[in-house]
């Protein structure tokens, strides 16, 4: 098993050390999320930097997935779910009434916990987003873009000769990389990942982790994970959630070696969770 192959960049917390610094790429201020009467997130203030991998960690039910799904407004699918506060991406308020969620989600992609390829061919899985957004007018452009996406997801060599086979004929890890290829095909700015490796075996997990690391160059990645080793391996920044509150955010290295908060310390040493 590879361990800590990625050295997190040592960047200081911009918000705490330099309040006058320009706005972070994704910036939450006082973000509250309610499910009916129950409050799931309490005044989250969180900055997520561009072209970095940010992990959201914390025990089950701490609100990390809720926060992730607030970023591309997937929470809107739950009728009783309500958002208060501010969440901006590149300075644009996500919850502005003028925002079209379709435009938002086209630029903020998402990879789910369980690989969920469409029950269609591998090619169509990747081409679907391109088709609905009318991104590739010609067939050859479409094929090129699909190939590029599958290569980006490190899946091309494995599926090049069977693009017409159903997406769910692939193994679990391949399916998850197919889902990532599908997401990068439409060239999003941000990719949200909700425990993308929790249904995968260690070898498939390692491949997906390598992939995430290589995607960092072009995309801002926010990943929810239950595995602290994974957070340590792939992310530059880590945010620790507990009971709906953001306890601590910082460089991954600092969080895992020298957490400021006692709760963080307890969690990463396995005393709560």
């Amino acid at each position: 098993m590879k361990q800590m192959t990625i050295t997190p960049a040592a960047a200081p917390d911009p918000r705490k050390e330099n309040p006058a610094m320009e706005q972070a790429f994704i910036q939450a201020r006082g973000a509250d999320v309610f499910y009916g009467d129950k409050q799931a997130l309490f005044g989250i203030d969180l900055d997520i930097e561009e072209k970095r991998v940010t992990s959201l960690i914390g025990p089950s039910g701490c609100g990390k997935s809720t926060f992730l799904r607030a970023i591309n407004r997937m929470n809107d699918l739950i009728p009783i779910c309500r958002f208060d506060g501010s969440l901006t991406i590149d300075g644009q308020e996500v919850y502005d009434p003028a925002v079209d969620v379709v435009a938002l989600r086209a630029q903020v992609g998402m990879v789910f916990q369980k690989p969920n390829p469409f029950p269609k061919s591998i090619f169509e899985n990747v081409a679907y987003g391109l088709k609905i957004h009318g991104m590739t007018p010609s067939k050859s452009e479409m094929a090129d873009r699909v190939e590029w996406s599958l290569k980006s997801a490190g899946l091309w060599d494995e599926v090049a000769d069977r693009l017409d086979q159903p997406g769910n004929s692939l193994s679990g890890g391949q399916q998850q990389r197919l889902c990532i290829a599908r997401t990068v095909a439409v060239a999003p700015k941000v990719i949200l990942m909700d425990e993308p490796c929790s249904a995968l075996d260690p070898i498939a997990t390692a491949k997906v982790e390598d992939l995430i690391d290589s995607l960092r160059e072009h995309y801002t990645i926010v990943i929810v994970t239950h595995s602290m080793q994974q957070a340590a391996r792939i992310s530059q920044r880590t945010a620790f959630f507990h009971l709906g509150k953001l306890i601590e955010v910082g460089n991954t290295k600092d969080i895992f070696t020298n957490p400021r908060e006692e709760q963080t310390q307890n969690y990463i040493t396995g005393r709560i969770g």
Binding site: V102, P117, F118, I132, N168
Partner: protein, 419 residues
């Protein structure tokens, strides 16, 4: 020593007994229902097979130019020609009453059959010809051996005198049984020996066509909207409860509704497959909606989520990814609904599809009847031969029902997406 047998305690003896009891009760229930099914099929098929056989009688008709003008065949009275040839065959019959009895051996349609045969094959003209004509229903009973001669004459449909005549015909080889093609190629008739099922079959087909065209798009449209788009609130709960109730409403109520609205208010033509199909569509809609919603609900929500997360609009997500996966289930629901509609009688009675229809309908605006109504009408007729026709019509109806269910199963197998 450790004991792993059922004597080890834990109340195992009693528990094992109740396991066995339940399994045997289940097997018993299946055996009983299967037995009734077998009895039903046996009785229907054994009765109905008779209707597939038809008795014919050979008559020698003089078709010389004196009797039939070759230039003007239509002017001939084939009826008197037929009677004459029957009289020639039985010179001993003299009294008026006996002659009437003799003429009654052949179907009232027999004269037309002779004319038809000549039209088809004019070379028959020119001399005496032996032609086969359909026997009357009573003669058919005797020829096919369904008359119990031990009974007193008064209790039979065939009198001793008729039996004597028929015996003579059979002895001379002038009576035979053939496959009753007419049953499938002609419409209803007052005479059981020539009554066929085609008009009812066509009526049922046209009615179901209208029913499907109306109820399938409406039903799956409503199901898709209710399941995927409608806000979940009191209103949608109320609608859901009402749809479930509608599915349980007796079908005759839909017939009354059709009578009041389609015939009374909209003034659509009575007795037509159009109105029949509309009424059956009303009746089938709840079934299709409920089945389609169940099919939609069984699609994993992850497909829709994935599409939405890619930036598909809700309608795109549903129509590209949910509906195709649910389609086999929705089709099955629709076909099951159609099969129900095919067997439905009561609502059709209310809108006048119970009429006596001889002509085979060719459009949805012509008066028609439907298979189950035809069965109902024939079951009501006093002639013994109509009992056979009734059973035969039931066989046809059941065949179509089984076929439709088979198609539903095959479609589901073929289209089912695995995930």
């Amino acid at each position: 020593m450790i004991n792993f047998t059922q004597d080890a305690g834990f109340g195992l003896r009693g528990r094992n007994k109740s396991e066995k009891r339940f399994q045997w009760a289940g097997r018993g229930a299946i055996a009983i229902s299967l037995a009734f099914l077998v009895i039903m099929f046996f009785s229907i098929i054994s009765t109905g097979l008779g209707a597939l056989q038809q008795s014919q009688i050979a008559v020698t008709v003089d078709l010389s130019a004196e009797e039939v003008d070759p230039e003007n065949v239509g002017d001939t009275s084939f009826n008197s020609l037929l009677k004459k040839s029957l009289r020639n065959a039985f010179p001993e019959v003299e009294s008026r009453k006996d002659k009437k009895r003799l003429y009654g051996l052949v179907s009232t349609e027999a004269a037309f059959e002779i004319e038809r045969q000549i039209t088809q094959d004019p070379s028959l003209l020119g001399g005496p010809q032996t032609l086969w004509v359909t026997a009357s229903d009573d003669a058919d009973l005797y020829i096919s051996g369904q008359v119990d001669t031990d009974l007193p004459e008064k209790q039979r449909r065939v009198s001793d005198a008729e039996i004597a005549l028929l015996d003579k015909l059979m002895a001379s080889g002038a009576a035979r049984e053939t496959f009753n093609k007419g049953f499938f190629t002609s419409g209803d008739s007052r005479e059981p020996e020539i009554a066929g099922i085609l008009s009812a079959l066509m009526g049922s087909f046209l009615t179901l066509l209208v029913c499907f065209v109306l109820s399938f798009p409406l039903g799956i449209g409503a199901a898709i909207y209710l399941e995927e788009f409608a806000p979940k609130n009191r209103m949608s709960d109320l609608i859901e409860v009402n749809i479930n109730n509608l599915a349980a409403v007796p079908s005759i109520v839909f017939g009354l509704l059709g009578l009041a609205i389609f015939l009374g208010y909209l003034g659509l033509p009575r007795s037509t497959p159009l109105v029949g199909g509309m009424v059956l569509a009303l009746m089938t809609l709840p079934t299709i909606i409920i089945a389609s919603r169940a099919a939609l609900r069984s699609v994993p929500p992850s497909f829709k989520e994935a599409a939405l997360a890619l930036g598909a609009t809700p309608v795109q997500a549903v129509f590209h990814h949910v509906v195709p996966v649910a389609m086999p289930g929705m089709l099955t629901g629709a076909i099951v609904g159609m099969a129900q509609a095919l067997g439905e009688t009561a609502p059709l009675l209310m809108i006048g599809m119970v009429a006596f229809i001889v002509d085979v309908p060719t459009s949805v605006l012509e008066p028609a009847t439907a298979l189950p109504v035809q069965i109902f009408l024939w079951a009501d007729a006093p002639e013994r031969a109509f009992t056979e026709k009734t059973a035969a019509a039931i066989i046809v109806l059941l065949t179509f029902l089984i076929l439709m269910n088979l198609i539903a199963i095959l479609l589901r197998r073929k289209l089912e997406t695995r995930f």
